[in-house]
């Protein structure tokens, strides 16, 4: 197996790991919220401030957490991932020229 192939597979594994972790995190946050809604109604009814129940606060935080996870992914993808992809593409273009 060539170096290039190894580098590509390492990148694919890293992308898959991060994608799966972040998807799992989103599922955990959202299904955690849904199960609280189903099982812990009195807890979510607890007032945090006047006009704000814990349920509404957590609901808004689920939306915010979706944004945060997206930012985490985009920072990694626009940085490390895109840099590695550019290197691999340059190497493969070079290899083709030599052929």
């Amino acid at each position: 197996m060539s170096n290039e192939q190894r580098a590509l597979e390492a990148l694919a594994r890293a992308q898959w790991r991060l994608a799966l972790t972040l998807t799992g995190a989103m599922m955990a946050v959202y299904f955690g919220f849904v199960l609280l809604v189903a099982w812990a109604k009195p807890l979510l009814a607890t007032p945090v401030a006047r006009g704000l129940s814990l349920g509404i606060l957590l609901g808004a935080l689920v939306i915010v957490s979706a944004w945060v996870l997206i930012v985490v992914y985009v920072r990694w993808a626009n940085g490390h991932y895109d840099r590695t992809v550019a290197e691999l593409r340059a190497r493969s273009a070079g290899a083709q020229r030599r052929r």
């Binding site: 992308q15 849904v34 809604v37 189903a38 979510l44 006009g51 509404i56 609901g59």
Partner: protein, 512 residues
């Protein structure tokens, strides 16, 4: 008293304004739509911000604007559960779907599933799933359009359905994806601006403090409106619906198709970031709109106009901004439906012409002219079918069809897409079985569920306990796909995986 249901000059002016502008855009786009690549993918020329707005436009249907605001106004916190469920699928689109689609496919998601598999069997199964999703979603939108326009403008249901069908057909037929994209952008900007203005007019009455609004709602209707009520009582039911909403977003054909309109994977990524930002912001606004309608309009007045609460947002607009603002919001709601059905019809036409005609009937070799013509014939077919379905289902309760469309999208499309991109041993038979099992089990389980058996047919009990099939049908589709693949090893498919991975990350080398 409300002037809802009487002809509203401002609404009619705004609506004609919207139709004129979008027909103008269609005329402009038609001159640039010269090939199938333009017709299906807008020449891959759409920017990240534009596609982000267009994705948001495709996704924020009238159901989420009017339906969720109404649900929150009548049941408080419980309505918010939907707002949140509709957003959390977007990160999944970002992490698993957007970039693979852009790098591996051309026009439909079946391009990706069939990338290293045998074309015909995969395309047929994918087209069945796509057409099922598009049909149920279209019925819900068309029936919603007919009812909405009757309530808002006072014209006949059938007339409204025909107008929506014809205008939408004009966008897609002549302007293809470029016109559809810009219609979505105009609509998304109008919808976001309208919802924001409405929310600001509400907040102005509560010292710009949403908590003061929520407190006023609790004072008038009891603290219960800020807490979970009866909507989600069975945890399994809640999980099932949640799973279908989340993974269904990542399997909706008209959403998936948008990723082909951008030039590269990085732009696809940017467009999901924008879309999630806009959609999340919009759903946060529905908190304010729903509680605003509850307090300012009042639950009894909302129920008096429409039992389901669908008119809460227009009534609120009238209460805080007068008849003129009501007209604006009504026109925005109509434009929303028009744009969503255009996107759906285009994706249905792509499944018929690109997947079934070009890749199955013509085995992948059809002259460009023929492809272009078949795509347009399929669009006309889609437009006519949606008008007929809209009229056939008049007066039926079709609210469950959106949930069903999401369940099929999550069970038929999402598992096959993920397995084909990330799992080497996936085979043609596995893909076929997974997509068909997903579609069939969603349809079978929903027809045995309380949604159909109890709510629609008024039986006392239902053989299948869950209201949404997602919790069973999604894992089933994954399991079937994996099991059948392991039983039917396919050398060509496994051999193609390295090439797929390479193209998935490095992008198409010929630049197409």
């Amino acid at each position: 008293m409300t002037s809802l249901g009487q002809p509203n000059t401002v609404a009619i002016l705004w609506f004609f304004g919207f139709v004129s502008v979008t027909i103008g855009i269609t005329w402009w786009a038609a001159r640039r739509t010269r090939s199938t690549e333009h017709f299906y993918a807008a020449g891959r020329s759409v920017t990240g911000l534009q596609n982000g707005l267009a994705l948001a436009g495709d996704y924020m249907s009238a159901a989420s604007f009017l339906g969720i605001a109404g649900l929150v106004s009548l049941s408080g916190f419980d309505g918010l559960i939907y707002s949140i469920g509709f957003l959390v699928g977007w990160p999944v689109v970002m992490f698993l779907i957007a970039e693979p689609l852009r790098n591996l496919g051309r026009y439909t998601f079946a391009d990706v599933v069939a990338y290293r598999l045998r074309q015909a069997p995969v395309r047929i199964a994918a087209a069945i799933g796509t057409l099922a999703v598009v049909t149920f979603y279209l019925i819900a939108q068309m029936v919603g359009a007919g009812n909405l326009v009757r309530l808002l403008f006072g014209i006949r249901y059938e007339t409204a359905v025909v107008i929506v069908g014809l205008v939408m057909m004009a966008y897609v037929l002549f302007g293809g994806m470029l016109a559809t994209t810009w219609v979505q952008i105009v609509k998304a900007v109008l919808l976001l601006a309208g919802a924001l203005l409405l929310a600001l007019l509400v907040l102005a009455r509560f010292g710009w403090n949403p908590l003061a609004l929520f407190a006023a709602a609790a004072d008038r209707y009891g603290a219960g409106v800020l807490a979970p009520g009866q909507l989600v009582s069975d945890p399994l039911d809640a999980l099932s619906l949640g799973l279908a909403l989340m993974l269904g977003t990542a399997g909706l054909p008209h959403i998936l198709m948008r990723f082909y309109t951008v030039p590269d994977a990085r732009t696809a990524r940017t467009s999901v970031s924008y879309a999630t930002g806009f959609i999340g912001f919009f759903y946060l606004l529905t908190f304010v709109l729903g509680f605003g309608a509850m307090v300012i309009v009042g639950q009894d007045a909302i129920r008096a106009v429409d039992k389901g609460g669908n008119m809460a947002a227009p009534l609120l607009a009238e209460a805080v901004g007068g008849t003129g603002f009501l007209g604006f919001i009504a026109a925005v709601a109509f434009a929303t439906i028009l744009a969503v059905v255009a996107g759906l019809t285009l994706s249905g036409a792509a499944a018929l012409s690109h997947d079934l005609w070009v890749n199955v009937v013509r085995k992948g070799v059809a002259p460009e002219r023929e492809q272009f013509m078949v795509a347009r014939v399929a669009t006309v077919l889609g437009g006519v079918v949606s008008i007929v379905l809209g009229i056939v289902f008049k007066g039926e309760n079709v609210a469950y069809m959106v949930g069903l469309a999401f369940a099929i999208a999550a069970s038929a499309n999402f598992p096959a897409l993920v397995l084909s991109v990330f799992w080497g041993p996936f085979t043609t038979r596995g893909a076929q079985a997974s997509m068909l099992a997903g579609t069939a089990s969603s349809l079978a389980l929903i027809s045995l569920s309380p949604t159909i058996q109890v709510s629609l047919l008024h039986h006392a009990t239902a053989p299948f306990p869950l209201k949404n099939p997602g919790l069973i049908s999604i894992p089933l589709s994954f399991a079937v796909g994996i099991a059948v693949s392991l039983l039917t090893p396919e050398q060509a498919a496994a051999g193609g995986f390295a090439g797929l991975q390479r193209r998935l990350h490095l992008g198409p080398e010929d630049g197409d």
